[in-house]
Amino acid sequence: MTKVAIIGANGQVGAELCLLLGKSSELELVAVCRNRSGSAFLRWQGIACRHGRVADPTDALRLLGDCDVIVNSALATGTPSEIRRTEERIIHNIFACSKPSATIIHFSTQSVYGDPRPNRRVRRRNSYARAKLASERHVRAEQKTSKKPAYILRLGHVCGTMQEISHSIRESIREGTVVLPAKDCSSNTVYTASVAGAILQIMRGAAQPGTYDLMNAPLWTWREVFEYEAHRCQMAFAPLIAAQAPERSLRVAGAASIARLGASLVTSRPLVEFAAKAFAHVPNTLNNRAVAWWNANRARREIAALSRRQRPPEHLSWRTNGSNFFPADHPTRSLLDMWQAPPATQTTANSWPEDLPDAGAKNSAL
């Protein structure tokens, strides 16, 4: 049976994928987590795990050495330089420590397309997007060297039973506080069922290696997402539709653009981003100082703003992304009908299984 490893199995997306794929009779799941406090939920749900650091080559071999498909859902944390180095090590070890015949699936993000806000002529990338883009380049470089088939999936906003986006959407429906923009934009969302479907499709060899945008098939608008979530939680859906902003004359729009450009220069955002980019290449000591400076400044701002209110999120008006969509063989709606992850609230008969045994030395690719 095909052995599928999920790295970052206890993450927000990884955990729901484990619950979905764990029910499939086509594959044997290997959930990989760094530590036992992190894997508690999966083990409680009866998903046996392997524990260790894929960033460490010795660990990577025992974690991944016997797997046929490796899904990289890991999210490194730390300073920009730590994130960059850890992601590099993880990607290298995935290719170096997996079977020669292994297939690699790497999760990337829509953030690589840059600033999602509308009316931005230049879509600047933040440091997270640049780090993910750098990871994509590493995957392609490792693929060339190793000749292992690799799929880079740029995930949209991930929705699903256990995803924060879906939870907050349902909360807003329950509270009757949904406000949708007059223009119903494409949502750039992908349900976990579609992600699991793509993994199975790749496992069956039904897609060519490459870089894909993985979103719902066909694309869903935000209204469709809200309507689906309302239907799922059996709530009436009565959104308030915001008034459409009036069209601006070219002159006003031009002046606004110049003003915006001036403001952005004054607030030094490009400088901040440039510094973040540069810091990924300087010694960790300077990174730590920069993070300390940032933390102290944030604290100062927040202390000074003890009575200020938060601003509402703006993602409902973000622009549509994607050009090379993953060739899904099923529409998202039918996958959702087949693959709903149950809300995990009960102790199961299989709770707290023994850890999975390490990959045997005979499978070593080194």
């Binding site: 206890n10 993450g11 927000q12 955990a15 987590c33 760094r34 530590n35 036992r36 406090s37 992190g38 894997s39 508690a40 939920f41 083990r43 409680w44 650091r53 960033a55 944390t77 256990m162 939870h167 329950r174 509270e175 009757g176 506080t177 960790n284 000591t285 730590n288 100082r289 993070v291 300390a292 933390n295 102290a296 944030r298 604290a299 100062r300 927040e302 202390i303 003890l306 938060q310 995990a344 609230t345 102790t347 707290w352």
Partner: protein, 338 residues
């Protein structure tokens, strides 16, 4: 009583809570000087000290730690005893991260070694605006006597964001569990809001991962001044690292319910929690925190003002004794399931 305006702070523990919360706030707190940072792992102390431009100290003999007016002790609970002994002997004040202690007798013995103003417990949620507002509602009896409290907190574990965490040591059991680590905050919040001075734990269920509790559910009766005579307040409590909870505190009064989320920016509502769109949002002019940095700032501000004035602060360790007692009771194995 201390008359010094500027106080020097010595920090024991260079972990995440010091890096992300205490140091950034202390760097922005007036009349405070960070004297030194110490950690058992010298390189960790060096990295943090260097990042913030303060001094790190290395010593295998804890008695040799430099002098300071106040120490922040932000290390795992079972490792604090020696530091508390040394600082008590020196007459220095100590602010301990939560949980303050794993047992009431140990907690009491440390409280006895310090003046009330000189020992604090880091239950900074007491400074959330919502907590201060709900406490006032209960104390002033705005909606009548408090009949019950429902508190539920937690979500499924998503990892520590680190290769290893102090929570990963199963040998240490309960002090690594959800009740001591996360639950002590919401237990303290419930006791703080209702002003209870005694409790009776009726039932408790724990889901154990080996020796470590991952979910705890309990029913407790609280006694104190804000309740009707002869009628205790019923506390329904749940904390979990296994599944999503409401993450709310609900106060049940005879004719209405007052509730709030558990985050710093949470609003306080009055009405029926089942029909939130019909609820009334309460606001208060009372100063309180709406971010974590603000809560840590107010925690330090009150604690340091208490030291300067020789007066017990809102986060004195003495005021947190009931929290430790209740956590200890819920962790004891002889309670029946609810």
């Amino acid at each position: 009583m201390r008359t010094k305006t500027s106080l020097s702070i010595g920090i024991v523990g260079a972990g995440a809570i010091t890096r992300k919360s205490h140091l950034p706030v202390l760097m922005n707190t007036p009349d405070v000087k960070i004297a030194w940072i110490y950690d058992q792992r010298p390189e960790t102390a060096d990295v943090l000290a260097n990042a913030y431009g303060v001094r790190s100290v290395h010593s295998t003999d804890l008695e040799q730690l430099p002098a300071c007016d106040v120490s922040l002790v932000a290390i795992p609970v079972e490792a604090r005893g020696e530091y508390l002994r040394i600082f008590a002997a020196r007459g220095a004040a100590v602010l301990c991260e939560k949980p303050f202690s794993m047992g009431a007798s140990e907690h009491s013995s440390w409280v006895a070694k310090f003046a009330p103003c000189m020992l604090g417990a880091g239950y900074m949620r007491r400074f959330f605006r919502s907590a201060l507002l709900m406490r006032r509602i209960v104390r002033e009896g705005m909606f009548g006597p408090l009949h019950g409290i429902d508190v539920s907190e937690g979500n499924r574990s998503k990892g520590s964001g680190a290769d290893s965490s102090f929570l990963d040591d199963p040998v240490l059991g309960a002090s690594r569990g959800v009740l001591a680590d996360l639950g002590s905050h919401s237990i303290d919040l419930a006791l703080f809001v209702c002003g209870a001075d005694a409790f009776e734990a009726h039932s408790s269920t724990r889901i154990m991962d080996g020796t470590v509790d991952r979910k705890v559910t309990a029913k407790i009766q609280l006694y104190g001044t804000a309740q009707e005579p002869g009628r205790p307040t019923e506390l329904n409590y749940c904390v979990s690292w296994l599944d999503r909870q409401d993450n709310m505190i609900k106060l049940r009064f005879p004719h209405t319910t007052v509730w709030s989320g558990l985050g710093p920016a949470a609003e306080v509502y009055v009405g029926d929690p089942e029909h939130p769109r019909d609820a009334v949002s309460l606001s208060s002019e009372a100063i309180g925190a709406t971010t974590y940095n603000q809560a840590f700032f107010l925690e330090w501000k009150h604690f340091l003002e208490g030291i300067r004035a020789g007066q017990e602060s809102l986060i004195s360790a003495r005021s947190a004794l009931l929290t430790t007692s209740l956590v200890e009771a819920l962790l004891s194995a002889d309670l029946r399931p609810p």
